[in-house]
C-alpha cells in the first residue's frame, strides 16, 4: 500500500492507504477526524467539504494520494483548541443556521470559500447561487444565508483566523 503524508489542521500526518482511498476516508478512518461527513456518492451534497491548500474541495471526490504534501484544513481546525470559535461558526449558532448539524461542517467550510472568492459583503442572491454545491434538508437555507452574510461581515472586522493558507 502506498504511503501518503500531508499536513492536517497544522499537524504533520502520514499513513498507508490503498490507491483508491478517498481523502474523506483518510480523514475519518485513519485520522479519526469525524467532523467531515459523507452524505452522498455523487459529489452533490457538500457534507465533505474541506480546504486543500486554502481552497474548498469535496473530500469525497479527492484521493488521499492526491493530497501528498498538501495542507488540509477540516472543520476541527477552524478554532484553536480551548480558544474562541471562528466568526463563521459563531454566526451559524447565532442565526440558527443548523438543525441536525450533519451538513454543517461542509456548509461552514464552503461558506469560508465564498468569502475568499467574493469578499465580506455578500448579498442574498450571491450566497444562494454560491451554495449550489451544498445540500441542507433541515433548514430550508433561510438562516444559513443570514449566517453566512453575518459571518462574512464579522470576518472583515478581523481578529480571527481565516482559513489556513
Amino acid at each position: 500500500m502506498p504511503a501518503v503524508s500531508m499536513t492536517v489542521n497544522g499537524k504533520a500526518v502520514a499513513g498507508d492507504v490503498e490507491a483508491r482511498t478517498l481523502l474523506v476516508q483518510f480523514l475519518r478512518e485513519n485520522l479519526r477526524l469525524t467532523g467531515t461527513h459523507v452524505g452522498c456518492d455523487t459529489s452533490q451534497c457538500g457534507a465533505c467539504v474541506v480546504h486543500i491548500d486554502g481552497i474548498a474541495a469535496k473530500s469525497c471526490t479527492t484521493l488521499a494520494l492526491q493530497c501528498e504534501g498538501a495542507k488540509v484544513t477540516t472543520i476541527e481546525g477552524l478554532a484553536e483548541a480551548n480558544g474562541p470559535l471562528h466568526p463563521m461558526q459563531e454566526a451559524f449558532r447565532e442565526h440558527h443556521a443548523l438543525q441536525c448539524g450533519f451538513c454543517t461542517p461542509g456548509m461552514i467550510m464552503a461558506a469560508l470559500d465564498i468569502v475568499r472568492r467574493r469578499g465580506n459583503d455578500l448579498d442574498e442572491h450571491t450566497i444562494r447561487e454560491q451554495l449550489d454545491g451544498n445540500i441542507c434538508r433541515c433548514t430550508g437555507y433561510h438562516n444559513i444565508v443570514k449566517a453566512i452574510a453575518a459571518g462574512a461581515k464579522a470576518m472583515a472586522k478581523g481578529g480571527a483566523r481565516q482559513a489556513a493558507e
Binding site: H37, G39, T42, A47, H96, F102, C136, R137, Y141
Partner: protein, 785 residues
C-alpha cells in the same frame, strides 16, 4: 419572560459540538474489532431466487463471512412487521405479506436484500459483494399503483395486490348531497412519490457480548425504544432486556428513520454469528433503494357546493402505493392520518373517502414529513381554489364563507377540532403578503413577458400524536403517550430523561427552557438525556410533531411531582406545614414569613435526608410521568405563495412566501421558525423539483442525487413567517407542535399559484419547467413559437 424561559429565542446548546465537528453520529462510533457489512441487493424488481453461490466471495481478502437469506431462515428469525391494523370495508384484515429481513425465496423490489458480506473494510466488502453470484428467475413487475390490481400478483396473501379497501364517512349521505348540489368541482390528483434524503445516510452498528449474552445496536433511529421492542418481541432477535438500542446524534429523519428496517436486524444477527461488531453504512444510492419512500397517491376528488359557494360534501377515492412490503406504520398514513383531515378548515357536513392500498414492485412507502396530511391538504386546497375559480369567487372569500367558526367542532371524519381562529391567520397572511398589491405586480410582470400567480393554502393538520385509546381503537398496535423522568441531583442540577429523540429539533435547548422557567434554576444547570434504552425509560420517540405537545407535557407532569415532593422536604427543613410552603423563582418560602430555602439546599437535603424520617418521606428527588394526551392537536394557518413563471421556459420563480401559523404556545420562536422554513422547503421540493420515478420494469430511474432533484439554496426564497395563537386545550402547556406544518401547507400553495399564473389546472407535481411549459402549450397552442 426570562431570557432563557418559555418564549425566548435561546441559542442552542447542541450547536457547539455540531459547528466544531464534534458531533457523534452513528458512523462516527467505532467499536474494537469492528467489521463492515456490505449488502447484496437485487438488481431486479421481481424475481424468484434460485441458487446463491458465495464460494468465490468467501475467499476474497478481508472477508469474515458471507451470509444469505437461507442462513437467515435456518436461524428462524421473525419477520419485520407493520404495527397498525387496518380493516377493509368487508371487515377483513389488511393483507400483510411476510417480510423477512433477508430474502430467501423471492425478491420484490430493486434493492431487496439477498445476502450480506461481512469484511474487515468497506472496500473489501464491496469487492467481495461483487463476487456473490445470485440466480434470479425473473418475474413480471408492476410499478404503477393504478395498474397494481390487474398486474402480476406479488404476494400469495394479497390477490390483486390489494392490501386493504378502506373507507371513512357516510357514502349515502354524501351521494345525496352531491345530487342536490348546484356546482361540483372535480380533480384528478397525483401526489408524487418522494424520497426523504436526510443528509445523514442510515447506519446500523451491532455488537454482541458473549459474556453477558447482550446485544447492542447503535442506529440512526428516531425511536430507539420502539425499535428495541419490535426487534425483540416480533423479530425475536433477543429478549428485550438483553437488547440495548442507542441513537446517538442523528442527522435528520423526516420519518424515514422511524421504521425498523432489514439492515439493523441483519447486522444484529451477523454480529452474534461472527462474534465481532458489524457496521453497515448506507451509500446514498443504496439509501434510494432501501429507505422508505413517501406519498405516492392517485386520487379522484370532488367537492359539492351550493349556489352561495357553501361546501355541501366531499367525495374522495385514493389508490395508495405501499410498495413491495408493508413498512412499520405504512397502513396508517393513507387512512387515519389522511382521510381524517379532509374537512380542512371548513365546515363540510358530509365527507366520504375510500382508500385502496396496493402492493407494487417498488421500495416500501411509509410516513414522510406530514405523513398523510400533505396529501389531504393538497386535495382539499386544490379543490377549494379550483372551485373558487370556476365560480368566479375570490379564493380568500370562498374560504372565509366556509371556515369553521365555533369550537369544539366535530368533523364527519373522526377529528374534533378543539380550538382555532382561521380568520386571524388568513387576515394576517393577506396583509403580510400584500395581496392588495398583487394585481399591479401582475400587470407589471406581464409587461416584462412574465406570468405572475398567487396561490393560497389554508391548512389544518392533526399532530401531537396521539391519545392511546383513540389510536388503539383505530388499529394502532401501540399507545402513543410519552415519558419523562426529571432527576434532581444532590447539587441541584437537573437531568431530564425523555423518551423522545432529537434529530435536529433542538430538544436539549427547548426542554431545558421549560425546566429552567418552571424550577427557577439556571438554563446551564439542566441536561437533557435521550436516545439510549439503557439510560431512559420507555418512550415512543419523535415524529408526528409530538415532542412538544406530548413529550413536554410529560415533563410538566413530572415537574409537578418534583415540586410537590420538594415542598415536603422544604417543609421539614423550615419546620412549617407543607400547605404553607410557596415555591417561586427557585425559592421555597413559608407563606407570610421571610423564612426561605433555596432550591440547591432543598435538593441537597432531599438526598442527605437528615431533616426528616425516611418512614414519613422517602429520600431522593426524582419523579417520572407517562403522559397520555387527551386529543390530537390541530396546528393550522395560511400560506400564500406568489410566483413568476417565464412563459418561454416554463421556469417558476417563487418571488414571495408568506406563512402565518397557529402553533399554540411557543417555547422557542427561533426554533419554531426554523422548523417552518425546513418544512416549506420540503413542500416546495415536492411541488417543483422532486419525484422518485420508476420505469415499467421497476428500475428506479431517479437512483441518485444526480437525477433526483433536491432543493438547493437558489431554488428557494427567503420566507416571511408569522404567528397567531390559540392555545391547545388538550395539554398543560397549550402546545400544538410545528415540525411538519410547513411541508403540509406548501405544495398546494405552490401549485395553486402556478395554475393561477398559467391559466390552466392541467398541471401535476413536480411542476418542473418542462411540465409547466407543456401545460402552457396544451392550454394555449396559439402561443407556440
Amino acid at each position: 419572560m426570562s431570557t432563557t424561559g418559555i418564549g425566548a429565542a435561546v441559542r442552542r446548546k447542541e450547536d457547539l459540538r455540531f459547528i466544531t465537528g464534534k458531533g457523534q453520529y452513528t458512523d462516527d462510533v467505532i467499536r474494537p474489532g469492528e467489521t463492515r457489512a456490505m449488502f447484496v441487493r437485487s438488481p431486479h424488481a421481481h424475481a424468484k431466487i434460485g441458487g446463491i453461490d458465495v464460494s468465490e466471495a468467501r475467499k476474497m481478502p478481508g472477508v469474515v463471512d458471507v451470509l444469505t437469506g437461507k442462513d437467515f431462515a435456518n436461524d428462524k428469525i421473525g419477520n419485520l412487521i407493520c404495527g397498525w391494523m387496518i380493516h377493509s370495508k368487508d371487515g377483513s384484515p389488511m393483507k400483510m405479506a411476510p417480510h423477512p429481513a433477508l430474502a430467501a425465496e423471492k425478491i420484490c423490489h430493486v434493492g431487496d436484500v439477498v445476502a450480506v458480506v461481512i469484511a474487515a473494510t468497506q472496500a473489501q466488502g464491496r469487492d467481495a459483494a461483487e463476487k456473490v453470484k445470485v440466480d434470479y428467475e425473473l418475474l413480471p413487475a408492476v410499478v404503477d399503483p393504478a395498474e397494481a390490481k390487474s398486474g402480476p400478483q406479488i404476494h400469495d396473501v394479497a390477490p390483486k395486490n390489494t392490501i386493504y379497501e378502506w373507507s371513512l364517512g357516510d357514502a349515502k349521505a354524501v351521494d345525496a348531497a352531491f345530487a342536490a348540489a348546484k356546482h361540483v368541482t372535480r380533480l384528478h390528483i397525483v401526489n408524487n412519490r418522494l424520497i426523504a434524503n436526510a443528509v445523514e445516510p442510515r447506519v446500523a452498528l451491532a455488537e454482541y457480548d458473549a459474556g453477558t449474552d447482550q446485544l447492542t445496536l447503535w442506529n440512526t433511529t428516531q425511536n430507539p425504544h420502539v425499535s428495541r421492542l419490535v426487534i425483540s418481541a416480533f423479530v425475536g432477535m433477543a429478549p428485550e432486556h438483553k437488547l440495548r438500542v442507542i441513537a446517538p446524534d442523528v442527522g435528520g429523519g423526516f420519518g424515514s428513520k422511524i421504521f425498523i428496517y432489514p439492515e439493523e436486524v441483519v447486522c444484529l444477527w451477523a454480529a452474534r454469528k461472527v462474534g465481532r461488531p458489524v457496521k453497515w453504512t448506507a451509500d446514498r444510492s443504496e439509501s434510494f433503494i432501501t429507505d422508505a419512500h413517501g406519498r405516492d397517491h392517485v386520487t379522484h376528488a370532488e367537492l359539492a357546493l351550493d349556489a352561495n359557494g357553501k361546501f355541501l360534501a366531499m367525495r374522495v377515492k385514493t389508490i395508495a402505493n405501499l410498495g413491495a412490503y408493508m413498512s412499520t406504520f405504512s397502513s396508517s398514513v393513507p387512512t387515519y392520518l389522511y382521510a381524517t383531515l379532509l374537512s380542512g378548515q371548513y365546515d363540510i357536513p358530509q365527507i366520504y373517502c375510500e382508500v385502496d392500498a396496493v402492493y407494487t414492485n417498488t421500495v416500501p412507502v411509509d410516513a414522510y414529513r406530514g405523513a398523510g396530511r400533505p396529501e389531504a391538504t393538497f386535495v382539499v386546497e386544490r379543490l377549494v381554489e379550483v372551485a373558487a375559480r370556476q365560480l368566479e369567487i375570490d379564493p380568500a372569500d370562498l374560504r372565509r364563507r366556509n371556515f369553521i367558526k365555533t369550537f369544539p367542532h366535530q368533523t364527519p371524519v373522526i377529528m374534533a377540532y378543539d380550538a382555532g381562529d382561521y380568520n386571524a391567520s388568513l387576515k394576517k397572511a393577506l396583509e403580510t403578503a400584500d395581496v392588495k398589491g398583487f394585481n399591479k405586480r401582475k400587470r407589471d410582470a406581464a409587461r416584462n413577458g412574465k406570468l405572475r400567480g398567487l396561490g393560497y393554502s389554508t391548512y389544518i393538520e392533526a399532530c401531537g400524536i396521539a391519545p392511546s385509546q383513540a389510536v388503539g381503537s383505530l388499529g394502532c398496535g401501540v399507545g402513543l403517550w410519552e415519558s419523562a423522568e426529571v432527576r434532581v441531583n444532590p447539587t441541584g442540577s437537573v437531568e431530564v430523561l425523555t423518551g423522545t429523540h432529537a434529530h435536529g429539533q433542538g430538544h436539549e435547548t427547548t426542554f431545558a427552557q421549560l425546566v429552567s422557567e418552571r424550577l427557577g434554576i439556571p438554563f446551564e444547570n439542566i441536561s437533557v438525556v435521550h436516545g439510549d434504552t439503557d439510560k431512559v425509560q420507555f418512550g415512543m420517540g419523535t415524529y408526528g410533531s409530538r415532542s412538544g405537545a406530548v413529550g413536554m407535557s410529560a415533563i410538566v407532569k413530572a415537574l409537578d411531582k418534583i415540586e410537590a415532593k420538594a415542598k415536603k422536604v422544604a417543609a421539614h427543613m423550615l419546620e412549617a406545614a407543607e400547605g404553607d410552603i410557596v415555591f417561586k423563582d427557585g425559592k421555597f418560602t413559608v407563606a407570610g414569613t421571610d423564612k426561605s430555602a433555596a432550591w440547591g439546599d432543598v435538593a441537597l437535603n432531599a438526598y442527605i435526608a437528615h431533616k426528616f424520617a425516611g418512614q414519613e418521606l422517602e429520600p431522593g428527588l426524582k419523579e417520572t410521568s407517562f403522559y397520555d394526551p387527551t386529543n390530537f392537536t390541530f396546528p393550522a394557518g395560511c400560506h400564500i405563495c406568489e410566483v413568476e413563471v417565464d412563459r418561454d421556459t416554463g421556469k417558476t420563480e417563487i418571488v414571495s412566501w408568506t406563512a402565518v401559523d397557529d402553533f399554540g404556545t411557543i417555547i422557542n420562536p427561533m426554533i419554531v421558525e426554523g422548523q417552518v422554513h425546513g418544512g416549506i422547503a420540503q413542500g416546495i421540493g415536492q411541488a417543483l423539483l422532486e419525484s422518485a420515478i420508476y420505469d415499467k420494469d421497476g428500475q428506479l430511474v431517479t437512483g441518485s442525487l444526480m437525477d433526483y432533484s433536491m432543493p438547493h439554496a437558489h431554488d428557494l426564497p427567503s420566507f416571511k413567517v408569522g404567528l397567531t395563537e390559540t392555545k391547545a386545550p388538550s395539554n398543560p402547556l397549550g402546545i400544538k407542535g410545528c415540525g411538519e406544518a410547513g411541508a403540509i401547507a406548501s405544495p398546494a400553495a405552490v401549485i395553486n399559484a402556478i395554475t393561477d399564473a398559467i391559466g390552466t389546472e392541467d398541471l401535476s407535481m413536480p411542476a418542473t419547467a418542462q411540465a409547466v411549459w407543456s401545460a402552457l402549450m396544451r392550454a394555449q397552442p396559439s402561443h407556440a413559437a
